[in-house]
């Protein structure tokens, strides 16, 4: 990739110096308007449109009917499916975070102790991230399969836990975990990579000084390495959390929210409301809620992880 840019080059503080001399207003517009227009059309405008639509009742054919905040009132007070989906989305989020962040930290930490094969491990570990969700959903459907016996039930049988073998995707108690695991599996490598790169950047002399002082590995990790990688950890947590909150493909393809609503997430519920029941107003209200949820999650993560510095 060529030489990486030099780190920590001091940025010029004088404001005027940040502007190219000889630039004109028109040239700024020429460069700024095209990207902004595409972005506004496909990202910003839809946000505004969703806010607007969420105040109406509309099936796409008959006239739009203004209902004020009724969609939101219905969502919070009269819709059990909404709350079930919200609870499921939280469960999905928790499982993804544990698998991705916990896994990332564990594997990245182990990787730094290896002497050989680091590149190979990184490449192999990242492999699932390049596979489409449709392929992943198919793969896991076969892994969970009960009849004929899939990979998971076969392994359980071999290790003597054959009594646990079951149709994972049709049991209401296991289905949520079963649809969350593929999502966790898929991006585990990505977060591992990011955390690993951050761990490598921890100066060796800090670690050596601690080793001389007979700190054990846990102390070295928790007191030295982790504080050092905290900024990257915040970014990683935010990425993992927002990706998990918008998770859609795998539950939609594997179970379509079923059985019943056992694996319904807010995203799949919103999709069905919009494109199966063509209730655009209510679907928009749910998608506004999903955006707010993501923003709140980012704020919370930033606040919680940041504060521990003190």
């Amino acid at each position: 990739m060529g030489a990486p840019p030099p780190p920590d080059r001091p940025r010029q503080s004088v404001k005027e110096a940040k502007m190219l001399p000889g630039r004109s207003k028109i040239s700024v517009l020429v460069f700024l308007v095209p990207p902004l227009a595409v972005y506004a059309f496909a990202v910003l405008l839809p946000i505004v449109q969703s806010l607007f639509l969420s105040l109406f009742k509309w099936d796409g054919i008959t006239d739009m009917k203004f209902v004020g905040l009724d969609n939101y009132v219905k969502m919070f007070t009269r819709d059990d499916v909404f709350w079930t989906s919200f609870g499921n989305a939280m469960g999905y989020l928790a499982i993804c975070l544990v698998l991705q962040l916990g896994g990332a930290l564990l594997v990245a930490g182990l990787l730094t102790t290896l002497r050989r094969g680091r590149e190979l491990v990184k490449t192999l570990y990242l492999l699932p991230a390049v596979i489409s969700t449709v392929a992943i959903a198919f793969l896991f459907q076969r892994i969970y399969s009960y009849e004929p016996t899939g990979l998971l039930n076969q392994v359980l049988e071999w290790v003597g836990l054959g009594s646990l073998a079951q149709p994972w995707l049709s049991n209401v108690d296991t289905v949520l975990a079963a649809v969350s695991v593929p999502e966790g599996w898929r991006f585990a490598g990505l977060y591992m990579l990011i955390v690993y790169a951050a761990l490598l950047a921890v100066p060796k002399d800090l670690e050596e000084a601690a080793t001389l002082d007979r700190a054990n590995w846990w102390q070295i990790f928790w007191r030295i390495k982790f504080p050092y990688i905290r900024p990257v950890w915040i970014t990683t947590t935010i990425m993992a959390a927002t990706y998990a909150l918008r998770g859609f493909d795998i539950p939609y393809l594997l179970t379509n929210g079923g059985p019943g609503q056992a694996s319904e997430l807010l995203t799949t519920y919103m999709y069905k409301t919009a494109f199966t029941h063509t209730d655009y107003g209510y679907a928009s209200a749910i998608s506004v809620f999903i955006v707010v949820e993501c923003l709140v999650a980012v704020g919370l993560i930033y606040f919680l992880l940041r504060r521990k510095v003190d």
Partner: protein, 303 residues
């Protein structure tokens, strides 16, 4: 960084009390540690990759072999019949072409618009740039689902439903923030003096862009394209929402059709179809894995 040094001095003496000759025992423990962690890493990598190995192995089995043997045994005989059945039943060739069109189109937009936006924000500069930058950053957090209903309605109004553009535009727009961000952080390392010298020689903003910024951006372009191609090539949600006709279906949709039609009829051919669809990107990844890994790392570690 300097903030951390006092922390180390303060905390580390709290380590467990020293006991006797530490050095030899520590060396032994270190060795044991290394063996344990190698074993653990190997086990985790096998768990991570085995599902894919199984996928490829099954696609090479005969149907009888698949039905009779357990999922961990090697195929008793290899066959490519599954692949020929997969190609003759499905539309996989056409799907691959469609995916190439969408991936190429979206990447061109992402690169060109990303460079332009970053140039305006980072090099030219203007009064509202902090505001515009934060508008773009918002797009990294906002989930794509918010755009589905409004875009579906807009597309229906302007006749863009069921076109390549209907997939390319939102895919590019939602990748644009990260692209602008990566180009910006690279442009901020190009020294001001370079630009000032060029301006002294009478080069306007367009010539500076064409002669200085663009030629220097090649590495970042590769990074941006590699990282975004993964998400664009695999996009399911936009394609599933905006595309209806079979002639425009990309690989994820074509594969979904195939699985729906044949998934429970012809198991081994379906495995082969899945393999065909994941192989192109996987090959690119295996060949270019250094560049791709660098790109994915820099996306987060510069933040």
């Amino acid at each position: 960084m300097t903030l951390l040094t006092p922390r180390v001095d303060r905390k580390v003496p709290a380590a467990p009390a020293p006991d006797g000759d530490v050095a030899p025992r520590r060396r032994g423990r270190l060795h044991a540690h290394r063996v344990i962690s190698s074993t653990l890493v190997t086990a985790l990598v096998i768990m991570q990759v085995y599902p894919l190995v199984w996928l490829f192995m099954t696609s090479l089995r005969t149907e009888q072999d698949f039905a009779s043997s357990n999922p961990f045994s090697l195929p008793t005989e290899f066959t490519l019949d599954n692949f020929s059945r997969a190609f003759s039943t499905g539309n996989l060739g056409l799907n691959i072409v469609n995916s190439l069109v969408v991936t190429l189109g979206a990447n061109v937009l992402i690169v060109v618009l990303g460079m332009m936006g970053a140039y305006a924000l980072e090099v030219l500069g203007f009064r509202l740039k902090t505001f515009v930058r934060s508008m773009f950053l918002l797009g990294i957090i906002v989930p794509v689902q918010i755009a589905l209903v409004p875009l579906f309605i807009d597309y229906a109004n302007i006749g863009l439903l069921d076109t390549y553009q209907s997939m390319i535009i939102p895919l590019a727009a939602f990748s644009l923030p990260m692209s602008i961000y990566l180009f910006s952080s690279f442009y901020s390392y190009i020294s001001r003096e370079t630009y000032e010298a060029a301006s002294m020689d009478g080069a306007g903003p367009y010539r500076v862009f064409g002669q200085i910024t663009l030629p220097l951006s090649v590495n970042t372009i590769v990074t941006v394209v590699l990282v975004n191609s993964i998400f664009i090539w695999n996009d399911f949600i936009f394609a599933n929402t905006f595309v209806l006709s079979d002639e425009l279906k990309t690989i994820p949709l074509g594969l979904q059709n195939y699985i729906g039609a044949m998934g429970n009829v012809d198991w081994t051919a379906t495995f082969a179809a899945v393999c065909v669809t994941i192989t192109p990107l996987m090959l690119v990844f295996l060949v270019l894995n250094k560049a791709m890994i660098y790109g994915l790392e820099s996306g987060a570690n510069k933040g």
